[in-house]
Subunit: 72 residues, 2 copies
């Protein structure tokens, strides 16, 4: 199941951008605790969430997905 890998990639990208979970949550109109759950692989995101966080991180959603694929 890729969701843990989604969590790793999300955390990597967030840290690369120097953002806190709080800042990413604010940019994405998501709750901070949800960002934490996603990063720990405890929630499986919908593609809507994929598009939201990708945009907030200034990356294309397909690039985020490609990084998940590469990590599998």
């Amino acid at each position: 199941m890729p969701e843990k890998t989604f969590g790793n990639v999300l955390q990597e990208l967030r840290r690369e951008q120097g953002l806190t979970q709080e800042e990413l949550a604010f940019r994405s109109s998501l709750d901070r605790t949800y960002i934490s759950l996603l990063e720990r692989g405890l929630r499986v995101p919908t593609i809507d969430t994929l598009f939201k966080v990708s945009k907030s991180l200034g990356t294309k959603p397909e690039d985020l997905v490609a990084r998940i694929e590469a990590g599998r």
Copy 2:
């Protein structure tokens, strides 16, 4: 919200492969009615579903997502 676009892309790819909803559902271990709901944009898929249907359609998940992006 991109889910309707996901539905269009899913239907396009399925038809390009000459598959029925039944066949795609079987390959993806999903229910046929769920495939129909996805194609009509009435359900928002998780990234797990994205990975499952992409694999069944013989396409990379990032390529499917890129097609959604292009359709926006």
